[in-house]
Symmetry: C2
Amino acid sequence: MTEENRHVLLRRRPQGRPTVEDFEIASAPIPEPGPGEVLLRGLYLSLDPYMRGRMSAAKSYAKPVEVGAVMEGRTVGEVLRSRHPAFHEGDFATGGYGWQLYSAVAGDKLLRIDPDEAPLSTALGVLGMPGLTAYIGLTRIGEPKAGETVVVSAASGAVGAVVGQLAKRMGARVVGVAGGSAKCRYIEKDLGFDGSIDHHGGELEAALDRACPKGIDVYWENVGGAVQKAVFPRLNDFARMVMCGMISEYNSLDHEPGPNLWSVVRKRLRIEGFIVSDAGERMGEYRQMAAPLLRSGALKYREDFVDGLEKAPQAFIGLLEGKNFGKLIVRLAPDPTQKG
Amino acid sequence: MTEENRHVLLRRRPQGRPTVEDFEIASAPIPEPGPGEVLLRGLYLSLDPYMRGRMSAAKSYAKPVEVGAVMEGRTVGEVLRSRHPAFHEGDFATGGYGWQLYSAVAGDKLLRIDPDEAPLSTALGVLGMPGLTAYIGLTRIGEPKAGETVVVSAASGAVGAVVGQLAKRMGARVVGVAGGSAKCRYIEKDLGFDGSIDHHGGELEAALDRACPKGIDVYWENVGGAVQKAVFPRLNDFARMVMCGMISEYNSLDHEPGPNLWSVVRKRLRIEGFIVSDAGERMGEYRQMAAPLLRSGALKYREDFVDGLEKAPQAFIGLLEGKNFGKLIVRLAPDPTQKG
């Protein structure tokens, strides 16, 4: 146990692509838990594309992080001291307590996790918000039917990998779009997608035509930009476009126009956005469904670890460029449940 | 009874805005009804914006009218002779039998209408496809809740007028967008909308801000173009955009880009298109709900009549320019149920 807390502050609002100078790593005293609070030592910190929005003052679905404040983020930690009846020293819990090593947080805002159910880090990815995102978007908006074609963008990412695997379980034919041949191989060979398209490979339109000879019934939108432009005209009548994110836009200072919406009438399309935090209460239901699949090997996942809090800014910048391969997680301290 | 049939043929495909030269009025023999068919004399012909799509060879949700063929359209007619057990001479029926004075059509494709229930012409507007369109779009996609703000474009038109009145009945605050002060007065004073905006008046953005101080929860899209552009950024979180049509685009040879879809995620918007003919089986349910409202005066409507089949092309061209005021209907012959 180090003697002081360390945290990553937002030093200034990034203009376009963030740089490491937009962040500041600082020291602070280890906080004292107040009544009802729990002192946690962070083990894992999740880095996710939505964080780019929190760094900006532009209107969004959540308040921005203030300049000088600790960056927001979800973590898994170990309880060091508890003043909340539901938590005890040595418990593990997940919650949104930011880019820092220690935090004192209200026990009511934490979810206890059982290390015997699945590795602790999965609470940030396949069994956490990214997995729940996939589940909510597919069951509430996408609703793929047997034999339909589902296209998933950012398909090797934390959300996309679960989307594709769940859509396969719902009987759909799944084609993933990913950056680079290693990721494409992974989604086909390891995750069992029916096809893959490398968006670095160019000629997206022709590749989509080849991979989706019957058109596209569900498009899982994680990226926007060129992929959206190529997919949109290939949507079938009654197709659903699940708007989960548009990572290609997060660094943009102004947004390019989108598709003309006449085809929404003509093809009876449904385009719908959602934010997983609106449906956080379904986490228990999701974990109950997904954890057994994980343990049996039917639901696969991949994690991309970075070691040390001070690496978080650079790793986050890489995330926006697609440099990670699997769920990007910062290891804050050794995981006592992992051997070796 | 004239001695010959007359009909309007599509002479050639319009390029952009249709002209009267794109149509040809021709004579033909009065058809003989075959087995199961009914010979109808047309009384009323409906003119609707969707017909512009049928004149074009561009891919759409329905097959185009062939060059040289009779223009498609819905009519109300009187049965002159029946070879179908459900119809008798003197009955009235509605169906899609085109821009012509006489037709022999399968009785199974006709809906008998009762002149005591409502004036016959209403089967083409407030109690017909336009009314059903409003009902389907509001109940299946828009779902306005009490206190929400609904903006209806083309608000004095056949669809818009019903949308606004039904949304009011669902407890919403309704603002209509229409062209010209007479139409605006009509939707406020006669139809009881809470506000109106004249899109000829310019400064749509400022007018929307004044009329919708709490933003927009449901946008009924009939028009596209400048109105869509002004409404889109004013949609509230969780707003629904009911894509019914985009009349401003129907004459366009190429479509301008639409809005960037990032706000669909950020605001959790739902944008959904529909075509009333997909839900034609709900006509009975709709008429059962709406006809009593019509008779009691709770559901108001306005019809804009043009006399004579030969006026149909010019009237249709005017419709695309918003020249009609109320449901545009061509009188083909005197209505025997109307006195004077």
